[in-house]
C-alpha cells in the first residue's frame, strides 16, 4: 500500500478493515467515538465522521475495500486526530480532476473527495494507477 510520511510520536488508536458495507457503518461510528474521546465538539465530530464515511465508501467502491488506521499526535503544535485510509484498488489517474467538485467516474455526485477535504483541517492524498490510493485526513482538537 502507498505510504504517507508519518511521525514516530503518533499513537495508534485503532486499525480497521473495510470489506463490506456494514464495515463502513461500523468504522464511521468508531471514528465518532475516537473524536468524542478527544473531546471534539459535536460539529467537529460530525465533520470528521462524515469525511471519513466518504473515504470509506470510495475505498469500498473503487478500491475493493482497504485499511483504516486511526492515530493521534501533535501536528504543527496542534493535537490531531489522524485517519489514514489505504486501498490497493485501481488508483486515480488524474488527482486534480478527482478532487474537483462534481467530478465522478461513476454514478456518484462527485462531492466525496472535495467535500471531505472541506470538512477536515488537513487532507493528503497519494494515488498510483493499479497500485492503490491512500488518503489521510486530520482534525485538530
Amino acid at each position: 500500500m502507498l505510504q504517507l510520511t508519518t511521525d514516530s510520536n503518533w499513537t495508534e488508536l485503532g486499525k480497521y478493515i473495510i470489506k463490506t458495507e456494514h464495515d463502513i457503518v461500523q468504522v464511521r461510528q468508531l471514528i465518532r467515538v475516537h473524536a468524542k474521546e478527544m473531546n471534539m465538539g459535536i460539529i467537529d465530530q460530525t465533520r470528521v465522521t462524515t469525511a471519513v464515511s466518504e473515504l470509506l465508501r470510495n475505498m469500498y467502491n473503487y478500491g475493493g475495500g482497504g485499511e483504516v488506521l486511526v492515530e493521534t499526535g501533535v501536528v504543527d503544535d496542534k493535537n490531531a486526530l489522524i485517519i489514514t485510509c489505504a486501498d490497493e484498488g485501481s488508483g486515480i489517474e488524474d488527482l486534480d480532476l478527482a478532487m474537483s467538485d462534481g467530478y465522478t467516474s461513476g454514478m456518484g455526485m462527485g462531492y466525496g473527495l472535495p467535500g471531505a477535504k472541506r470538512l477536515v483541517d488537513r487532507f493528503e492524498i497519494k494515488s498510483e494507477k493499479n497500485i492503490g490510493t491512500t488518503v489521510r485526513v486530520m482534525k485538530w482538537r
Binding site: 461510528q29 460539529i43 460530525t46 462524515t50 466518504e54 465508501r57 467538485d101 455526485m109 472541506r118
Partner: protein
Amino acid sequence: MNIDLHEKRIPIIKIGNFLIVSIQVDMHDKLAIQLQSQILEEIEKTGAKGVLIDISVLEMVDSFIGRMLSGMATMASIMDASVVIVGMQPAVAITLVELGLEMPGVDTALNMEKGMEMLEKRLKDDDYKLY
C-alpha cells in the same frame, strides 16, 4: 388513523394522506436504497400526498444518504407527493452544506408538527389550483 406497519427494519406509518417514516438506525447503503424503494412503493399503493421523514436520530448524513433523500423527493414529486425531512440536527445541516451537497427539492422542518403543517398547507394550495 390507519396504521400500516411493515415487517422491514424501518417502519412506514400512514396517517390520513401522509406517510411517516422515522429513521432510527445509521443506515448502510443497501438499507438506504431499500428504504427509498419501500417509500415509493407505499406512495403508489396508498396514494399518499406527503411523506414526513424524521431523521432526528441520525448523527450523520453523507453524500450517499443525502443523494438517497433528494432522489426520493424528486421521484415522489413525479408521483404527486411532497417530501419533508424533519428534525435534522444542526451539526448534520452544517456538515451537509460544507460537504457541498445541495438537496434540491428537499424541504426541511424543525419537527413533526411543523412538517405536518407544511404538508397540509401544500395540499390545500394544490386544491385551490384545481379551480
